[in-house]
């Protein structure tokens, strides 16, 4: 300590102490932080690698070994994580059978596996990402405004009550009654199958939230008029009329006719 005590009053003491401290703190920080990023990078890489493995076994036969696409399936380069999550989480992919369009069914991959597949495809090229919790928070969204937007942008295919509708050659807009907010959001940003892409330029995030709020409201809305008849409009009303109602009316007429004999 004599060495330090002897130089304690030196004018260079404070700056050199500071320099040593800075080097020490900086060095330690650099060491620790690089270790953290290395860990994070490792985890991301693991997900991508795992996704790649799943991809190679489950998807590559149609979409190609490098997701470049083939005669049986489109390229997935640039479709983004949102598209993968939508297609896989709704069970549309992997495809059950070739047809007019992919049919929603029980998902074939777990949530983790789906995330890994999405990570892999997202790693190929930038594309629409899986929406954040903040983007899906529609608590404060304006339902009525969402209704207007829904009728302007969605109802011509998905029907005013969100029951879905027919498109050409066996394609169809599916019913929205089972769709989760995340799936709705992902469908809007990725435009699956016949659906157009509603980018944030066309429909800002706030408007997407409003639409999600309106559809979620439709999903739980009660039927003040009684039996809903599927909310598909006059076709089922007519069917009900000509079967149940006329059976009752003509049954009553026959009953009265028989009594008089």
């Amino acid at each position: 300590m004599k060495f330090l005590a002897a130089r304690r009053r030196s004018p260079l003491f404070a700056p050199s102490l500071l320099a040593i401290a800075l080097v020490a703190v900086g060095g330690a920080y650099a060491a620790i932080s690089s270790a953290q990023t290395a860990q994070a990078a490792d985890a991301g890489q693991v997900a991508i690698d795992e996704g790649n493995k799943l991809y190679l076994t489950g998807c590559s036969s149609c979409h190609g070994m490098q997701a470049e696409g083939s005669a049986n399936g489109p390229t997935l380069i640039g479709v983004g994580a949102a598209s993968v999550h939508f297609q896989v989480a709704t069970g549309r992919m992997p495809l059950a059978a070739p047809g007019a369009q992919a049919v929603a069914k029980e998902p074939q991959y777990s949530a983790d596996e789906t995330a890994q597949l999405a990570a892999y495809v997202a790693s190929l090229a930038p594309g629409p990402a899986i929406p954040t919790a903040e983007q899906l928070d529609y608590e404060d969204a304006d339902i009525a405004e969402g209704g207007v937007l829904f009728r302007v942008n969605c109802a011509q295919c998905h029907q005013a009550a969100g029951q879905g509708g027919a498109l050409t050659y066996g394609k169809y807009a599916p019913s929205l009654m089972e769709a989760t907010p995340q799936q709705m959001y992902e469908a809007m940003v990725s435009g699956p199958q016949s659906m157009p892409v509603f980018s944030n330029g066309t429909l800002p995030v706030e408007e997407k939230k409003a639409i999600i709020a309106y559809v979620s409201e439709l999903q739980v809305a009660p039927n003040p008029g009684g039996l809903s008849l599927g909310r598909v409009g006059p076709v089922t009303e007519g069917l009900f009329l000509w079967t149940a109602v006329f059976a009752a009316l003509i049954g009553a007429a026959v009953w009265i006719g028989i009594k008089a004999r």
Partner: protein
């Protein structure tokens, strides 16, 4: 009953009081005893009448709260998903009826269901009148009134469908505008006149309202009155049966039997309408949202009675002609929405006159035809219903496509072909079935009916016992009038004068042959007598030997004998065979 009870005294007093002032007793005495024939199918028209009464009552309630105005307002009612949205006052008031007026939704739904039932009941009633030939002389005018009533019913229904000004009704109006525009020459101007300028304009709802609550119901009410008065004065037709002729009416008096039956049936119809009005949603306008010309919903459909028009539009190929580069004829709209319904309704209206001319039938008919006894007419009816039904399927092609995993294009192409193939096929099929039933009737008269009892005769032969048909059935079958087709006209009469009407008469001759030539003649009295004789004779001959058990249970009428080769066919033969041994 020598002593009148106090109630009778009071009733008599009132009746006398009223009679002295309006002279009602004579009228009532005559009317209340009026006899009506009885059949359940005669009540189909009553369903229409009663549902119309329900429409009038519920409609009056709705007018108290509905505002026929296209002024834009901001919705501030209790339906949250539309709060703060700009909409017409008509739509806002319809929402208020549905959500904010006590009982409003029930009445609205009852009104709509009753309207659908009204038109459907008219259609079913019309089927009954058509297939039984009740439209024949002297009832052609009443048929015409009926056709006008159906048409007015369609207008009434469609104008009501359009009043709430929701997205669905506005879409219907868009299509109506398109149809009006497709009418050559006047289309565009007629549309401007109708909508007071460009669609949708600001006047249409209020104009439609006057039509819907005043003009059309007034006309319907007036025509229904005439319709019923004609039934009253011409008397109701009746189905054939024992003692029923073209000159009498067999049935029950109006008072008390039909008063009770009709009154009871009114409440049944009212009850059914109230029940479904309360339990089953119809036209949930709040889901469709307000009408904006830039919006449309998938699966937009009209109510059932307009479905055939929508279907015709949907399956029509996209043809149009552009004349001289300045005048477009939209065949794709004109044919399905104007020409096809035009032909359908004109044919419907003129059918009684066409049939009377073709068949040369100038007699009065008060006894109904059984559908089988006029196979060509029945065939035409089934053909028209099939045609209508196929168009109807076309109207729901999108819902059918999604419900049954079909493609909308293949449904459309199926219908494009089916519309020309299936109705004629149904015509031929129906006609053959009717002729087959006629043969069956003749057979029944001559040989009795197959009782289903199989007997084994003592000599081992199996027979099915035929029983004579009941007197009632016999009367029904014998009610058929055999009509001979018109004879072929002569080019020149006996004096050698040229027949100027030859070609027309020849067409009439051929068509009447088409109607009647294949009919199976009912057996003549002589044939029936001979048949009875024959049956009796055969029965005697084939009577089982009485020294066997159960022989007394065997009915003498039988036929359709099942023979085993080599077996004796009758007891006579059997006896002969026996005596040889």
């Amino acid at each position: 009953m020598s002593q009148a009870s106090p109630i009778e005294k009071a009733g008599g007093g009132v009746a006398t009081y009223v009679d002295q002032r309006v002279g009602s007793n004579k009228f009532l005495a005559r009317s209340l005893g009026k006899v009506f024939p009885d059949h359940w199918s005669f009540m189909l028209g009553e369903i229409a009448l009663y549902s119309f009464i329900v429409v009038l009552i519920t409609g009056t309630f709705l007018t108290f709260f509905y505002k026929p105005s296209m002024i834009e307002v901001v919705y501030d009612g209790s339906y949250v998903p539309l709060k703060g949205i700009l909409m017409s006052e008509a739509y806002a008031s319809s929402l208020d009826i549905s959500f904010d007026i006590r009982g409003g939704l029930l009445i609205r739904q009852m009104h709509h269901w009753a309207a659908l039932i009204f038109i459907a009941a008219m259609a079913v009633h019309m089927f009954r009148v058509f297939f039984t030939g009740a439209f024949r002389k002297p009832r052609e005018f009443n048929w015409l009134i009926g056709v006008v009533l159906v048409t007015l019913g369609l207008v009434a229904g469609f104008s009501g469908y359009s009043l709430p000004d929701d997205l669905l009704s506005g879409t219907g109006l868009q299509i109506t505008r398109g149809i009006a525009q497709a009418i050559p020459v006047i289309g565009t101007w007629a549309t401007f006149l109708l909508f007071d300028g460009q669609f949708p304009g600001s006047d249409f709802i209020s104009r439609l309202y006057s039509v819907h609550i005043l003009l059309i119901p007034g006309l319907i009410l007036a025509l229904v009155t005439v319709h019923l008065m004609l039934v009253w004065t011409q008397k109701h037709t009746q189905f054939p049966g024992p003692g029923r002729t073209n000159e009498n009416v067999v049935g029950y008096p109006l008072m008390p039997v039909y008063m009770a039956k009709a009154g009871g049936f009114f409440f049944i119809v009212f009850g059914i309408i109230a029940l479904i009005g309360g339990l089953v949603t119809i036209n949930p306008i709040w889901i469709f949202g307000p009408f904006m010309p830039d919006q449309v919903s998938a699966g937009s459909q009209p109510d059932w009675y307009m479905g055939f028009l929508d279907g015709a539009l949907r399956i029509m190929p996209n043809w149009e002609t552009n004349l001289f580069d300045w005048w477009t004829i939209s065949w794709n709209v004109l044919i399905p929405a104007v020409i096809v319904p035009g032909i359908l309704f004109t044919g419907l209206a003129l059918y009684p006159f066409i049939e009377a001319w073709v068949t040369g039938d100038k007699k009065e008919h008060h006894l109904l035809d059984r559908p089988r006894n006029n196979p060509t007419r029945t065939g035409f009816g089934v053909m028209a219903i099939t045609f209508y039904g196929l168009l109807w399927i076309g109207g729901g092609n999108d819902v059918i496509a999604t419900s049954f995993d079909l493609t909308i294009n293949s449904i459309t192409w199926f219908l494009r072909i089916a519309i020309f193939v299936i109705p004629p096929l149904m015509f031929v099929l129906t006609r053959r079935i009717c002729l087959g039933l006629q043969r069956r009737d003749r057979d029944k008269l001559l040989h009795g009916y197959e009782s289903g009892r199989i007997l084994r005769l003592p000599h081992g032969e199996f027979i099915e016992v035929h029983e004579p048909i009941s007197i009632k059935e016999k009367a029904v079958i014998m009610s058929k009038t055999d009509i001979a087709p018109l004879p072929a006209p002569e080019r020149r009469d006996a004096a050698g004068v040229r027949n100027k009407r030859f070609h027309l008469q020849n067409v009439q001759h051929k068509l009447s042959g088409f109607f009647y030539a294949e009919n199976i003649a009912k057996p003549s009295a002589a044939e029936i007598e001979a048949a009875e004789h024959h049956v009796a004779h055969e029965a005697a001959l084939e009577a089982p030997l009485h020294d066997y058990e159960d022989a007394d249970q065997i009915n003498p009428f039988h036929g359709g004998v099942l023979h085993h080769p080599g077996m004796p066919e009758t007891n006579a033969e059997q006896l002969a065979e026996r005596s040889q041994h």
